[in-house]
Amino acid sequence: MKRDPGYYDYLPYNKRPKIEWPNGARVAFWVAPNIEFYELEPPKNPTRISWPRPVPDVLAYSYRDYGNRAGFQRMMEAMDRCGVRGSVSLNVALCEHHPEIIRACAERGWEFYSHGTYNTRYTFNMSEAQERALIQDSIDTIKKHTGQKLDGWLAPALSYTENTLHLVAEMGLTYVCDLFHDDQPGPVKVRKGRLTSIPYSLEMNDAISFTVNWVTPRHYGDIIRRQFDRLYAEGAESGTVMCIPLHPYLIGQPYRMKAFEEALAYITGHDKVWLATGREIAKHFHDHYYDAFAKASEPIHDF
């Protein structure tokens, strides 16, 4: 095991090249709905169990299924009303299970990136060959069902090996959402290829907010506003990124929708906000700032 993942050097927030987003925007804002399929009876992974209760865990399974049957539509309509395109963090098997949802996203010009095959198949303990097969499956499935080139990766259920980021870069992906060390994009040190980390967020993630931190729906709306206000203010000096990662089974519950939509409308009601997708943010950074950020970084000495 390593003591440092080795993916990035040290680059202090107050000593960086200035980021300028398109049209003078202060914040690159993106919304990342996790559109997921959880299996009722997944195979066992030696280091992570899928369900809190014995199979069949009817409650946990059906709770997640709610997102696809009911919650997705509500979330999508709220995003439509606010003029926000999604960057879908997709369990790619959903292309086969629920193509209607894929079509609805595609019609809106949403981006698809990969969140693995199923949210009940973990990367932990995979060999390099197995992990390559997993990534290739995502590349092929997204291409086949949406015509899009796969650019981004968020590991399924945040499960990794030491190879994960190296392999996604080597296989042609351009960005990852798995590093939570920053509020701006940054270069990821990989064996081969050129990979950008873009800020996804666990703090703004509805799953963490609702099921780990137990925040109320109205308070979730408040913390979204506070996060935005600060990143917007700081963005006057150098462009920042704000992401809201969502799960339709959580945010799409009737009692959570209104407070969320109000917060979303608050953000999109500002000027100088770039309503972007993950791919667009990564590309802008990659084209203009990747090298400068890499150069400005200080090497980290292992301790």
Binding site: L40, E96, H97
Partner: protein, 303 residues
Amino acid sequence: MISDDYLKYPKRRYGMDHDRYDWSELSKRKPIQWPGGARIALWVTVSLQWFPLDQQGKPFKPLGSLQTAYPDLRHYTLRDYGNRVGIYRIMKALERHAIRPSAPVNAAVAVRYPSLVREIASKGWELVGHGLDMDRLHYEGMPDEAAAITRSLETLRKFGKVRGWLSPAKSESHQTLDLLAQAGIEYVCDWVNDDLPFPMRAGGRALHAMPHSNDIEDATILLGFKHDEDELRDQWIDHFDLLYDEAAARGGRIMVLPLHSWVIGHPYRIGTLETVLAHIMKRPGIWPATGAEILDAWKKAAA
């Protein structure tokens, strides 16, 4: 390491990864008309539960379980409080609006407190099967599950008709639905994946899932999420308001209010229920009904 079978997906196909029900998007179904043109069918459920002192906790301890070493008089009595006191406060709050709820009743409650069950049956409350007690969960490998279902229902049916079922802690084995359908059950409340009823397959017999949200329960919000009573009120009101608006455009919706006499029945909490019921009942187009009545109306409307 992990077997290559971990990357095989035998149920990767259109629809669900099991055969219990078909994939269906709420937004694409024919709008439902409730009797009298109501927008919202208000379905209050009041669970009457008994947590035995000699709790085994197999295969897990549900929310509300006893917690200390034997004998846990503290939690035993705090739960039993609901059957002696709390339920009568809820009864009063509901009667003010002439609301007849559905009552999932542990068979143990019917045997131990027959006068309570006679009283609610005489008031036209619907009796819903709710297993033997809160320590006899249905799960894969439950000893003699068929006998447990038969005994639960025979006990409760001495007091009135029983058409619906809520498994203790919404826990099921693979056979539960088949056994329930054989025992004459017409609907189950365990699957939280929809906002309207939908048909399930249960060994060739007709069985429906009724949308009995877990998230919006008094116990989940107050004890699980640890929100306070005012936050509970806000969430119930936001839940209702969204469904009420949605129903105007999309057809009838169900507002389920799942209560536990040992949770909401306390003096400092009952006011929250009264406030929310007043908020709901002052609107036009509210149809308070039992689960069985809602299912019958839905079948007619969806036909």
